[in-house]
């Protein structure tokens, strides 16, 4: 049962335009959301995160929006650059009742291609 879903396997945009990557989740206990970027043959690197008490977080060209009622988040990249071409993973976590930090649950990933 996929708790975090990225329904678009791929996205292609022109350099300078906006890229919008989407992510849906099913578990209402998730309270922290992250986006990771992955290049081939490398490990994922953290990009941006958002807590469930916020609906928007911005860091330079990257903005993450959270709609809790819809259980949906999105990553906006503007303007998109060719170096942004990578696989983007959405992840979610929930603090477990035992006090242990929640494990990260990942979506399937979306491959972004930014064309020059």
């Amino acid at each position: 049962d996929q708790q975090v879903k990225q329904n678009s396997p791929s996205l292609s945009v022109q350099e300078g335009r906006i890229s919008i990557l989407n992510c849906d989740y099913t578990n209402s206990m998730f309270d922290y959301f992250l986006w990771y970027k992955k290049y081939p043959a490398e490990g994922p690197t953290f990009l941006i995160s958002i807590s469930s008490i916020k609906d928007k977080n911005e860091d330079g060209r990257f903005t993450v929006f959270l709609n809790k009622s819809a259980k949906h988040l999105s990553l906006h990249i503007v303007p998109s650059q060719p170096g942004d071409s990578a696989v983007y993973f959405c992840a979610a976590s929930a603090v477990l009742g035992s006090g242990n930090t929640g494990k990260l649950i990942f979506g399937q990933g979306t491959t972004l291609q930014v064309k020059p």
Partner: protein, 114 residues
Amino acid sequence: DVKVTQSSRYLVKRTGEKVFLECVQDMDHENMFWYRQDPGLGLRLIYFSYDVKMKEKGDIPEGYSVSREKKERFSLILESASTNQTSMYLCASSFDEGLTTEAFFGQGTRLTVV
């Protein structure tokens, strides 16, 4: 900078072999994780550990075991490798800070079982 180091970038093993994947982190993180990445399936959690000698199963633990004897080291063991365990394996670590669960990843190990 946080560094998570996986012992091998590429491995080729035979069916039935016992395989050890090693991961070391240098930031005194409490939590460590093993994921595998497969096309169309994203990153799936195999096992995680929130303290030395503590471990919990992830979503796909079958065919795997783990060991955490020291805080900085987390090993993934394939007891008897099979071809369906051919995959990219990713180790990660994070602080136990409640909401701030950003995980740092190693570079990955591409395992091929023949």
